[in-house]
Symmetry: none
Subunit: 184 residues, 4 copies
DNA sequence: AATGAATGAGGCTTCATTCAT
DNA sequence: GATGAATGAAGCCTCATTCAT
């Protein structure tokens, strides 16, 4: 249900009432329960659905054979592209704290993408291209920087032109690179 | 009310019931209303209170005369120190999306610290020490990286040893530095 | 909701709890809110509904062509009939002070009937049949006398036999008549 | 407590909170309980106090030796005078339905004045000066007319000039008089 | 005597969920 | 499959009352 996304983005899980979602969707309140067992089931389905979309995009576009620098760039731009095309979905999955109602499966879907990214980093570390720091830390720093930028964009505190995006990507590469500042 | 912090951290604003807070605080539900007009007033007071603590720490310790590199390091460590000493407060103010219930004053307090950080960055940019990118973007990237790391720490996905912290700080400096990789 | 009438009559608007109404109606408390937005909406709907019933009765039965004396008698007996047939409704709309929660529309409905009655009096004054006193004053005196009698009846301090009613009607006619005491 | 009068007049007994009364009185909430055992005790004390004032006025001024017509006039004007001098007190005791919280003593005080008035009427009836109708009915009609007029005055729907008051008094006399329309 | 913080029951209202249609 | 009225527990908040100061 796409209406649920709107509601959850705006007021969070607990702040959203099922009748509100139903109204925005143009259906009766009871109808939702034909498709989802409960409010939690709905939010988890929504979360998994969008997390999977992101993962699909990143996995599909990931250039296995390209250089690490290029791989980083592609992943980064893919996530930006998603965040720009589906701002509400991005805000929902990344700008809210879901800890208290996500089920095991949703958590697993989330870990999937992060594990993949960490794997890429770890591989690159063996080649000396990435800083010799715990890969999870680097991944979180890098992803956190990205999320921070997108949050500012969501709150209209910055404007993301292609140039800004490119510069920000370089800056994030510097975050993880073993040889930052080196021309791509 | 310190009990409110616990509750809000765990389940967010809408997910927390006033009686829950009262019980955790060991007082009657009605008592809270002697000190706060409403649940919203409470969450705003809490938010402002802790945001102010962070701002105080950063402002007090900020080395006006030191090098930009040193200034960055101090600010970063000051925030880390706060996040480690008051993990719940940090999780509350940075790991949740407060957009729908913060009042104007709370928003202003938040902007205060960010404006300060941006000012520091802008000044350093005139000296050519920081990347020539929109200062807000750099600030959000850097702060976002920090928050991302702390979120991973909060979720026990990474462990923050002094060494990891130092390395992470360097990585974040590389994010904004015009000459990353240069020894401090 | 007819149960609301019972409750409001007995303890007034503020003295009545929604759950009490729900219980008396044999429904759940929440059910009331499918039909009325709030307690105030409920009391206003109830007030308007009954005021309209009274107005309808008086308007329908009003003998446009009859003598003023006959018109007065008809209006008076129509109101008595209503008060006797629907004692709770009458007690609710006339024996309570609604000032603090009636909305504009409810006030308008009320004014409707009083304007009509005043108009009748004013017309009769031009014929010299009614005392040359401000029509509103006469109307309020007359209606007040009626309400006073009904209040005493409600409180079981008097018994209203047909004979008493007829005598009271005559007395009230004397109140407004320019030639009281004249045989009808 | 004079502040209580203001509150009760405006929103009734159940609609008024003790802290509101305390605030308006400029004292602490607890202070009220030094003088009154409960909210009900307070409202009953207030009711009795003012009812007694009215009774005192009427009894004191009642011209035992004068004509019935004069007695009626005096009682009527005495009540008008009270209602004009203490409009809030009058509105409180006569414009609200107190049935659900008045105690036995308060009811007795009320009955006192009405019994007196009825006695006067009954005596006059033996002289053939008053209509041969149940005395209580006549008394309620007359008093109801008075209250109706004062309610309209309270709601600013009429203006009570001395002339209007005199005319209204005559009209009310006609209500009860066995020979209405006869010059005083 | 006066205070006002504290209480906790209870009031109004919302909401996730059910179920007869 | 879809509806939406109904439910009743639970949420936010108020309030009469108490009591330590």
């Amino acid at each position: 249900m796409d209406a649920a996304l709107d509601c959850f983005v705006e007021r969070g899980f607990y702040g959203t009432a099922m009748p509100q979602i139903a109204e925005k969707a143009g259906v009766a309140a009871g109808t939702i329960y034909h498709y989802f067992d409960s409010k939690e089931a709905l939010v988890n389905a929504l979360y998994r659905s969008w997390k999977t979309v992101v993962a699909q995009r990143v996995f599909m576009k990931f250039p296995q054979e390209a250089s690490v620098r290029e791989q980083f760039r592609v992943m980064w731009h893919e996530m930006i592209a998603f965040a720009m095309e589906e701002p509400r979905a991005f805000a929902f999955i990344e700008l809210h704290n879901h800890a208290s109602y996500l089920d095991a499966e949703s958590v697993a879907v989330d870990r999937n993408l992060k594990d993949f990214a960490r794997g890429v980093i770890q591989l690159a570390q063996t080649q000396g291209l990435i800083k010799p720091v715990d890969a999870t830390v680097l991944m979180e720093l890098s992803f956190g920087a990205f999320v921070g930028m997108m949050r500012a964009h969501w709150e209209r505190r910055i404007e993301l032109t292609p140039e800004v995006i490119a510069k920000a990507e370089e800056a994030c590469w510097d975050t993880v690179s073993a040889h930052p500042g080196t021309p791509a």
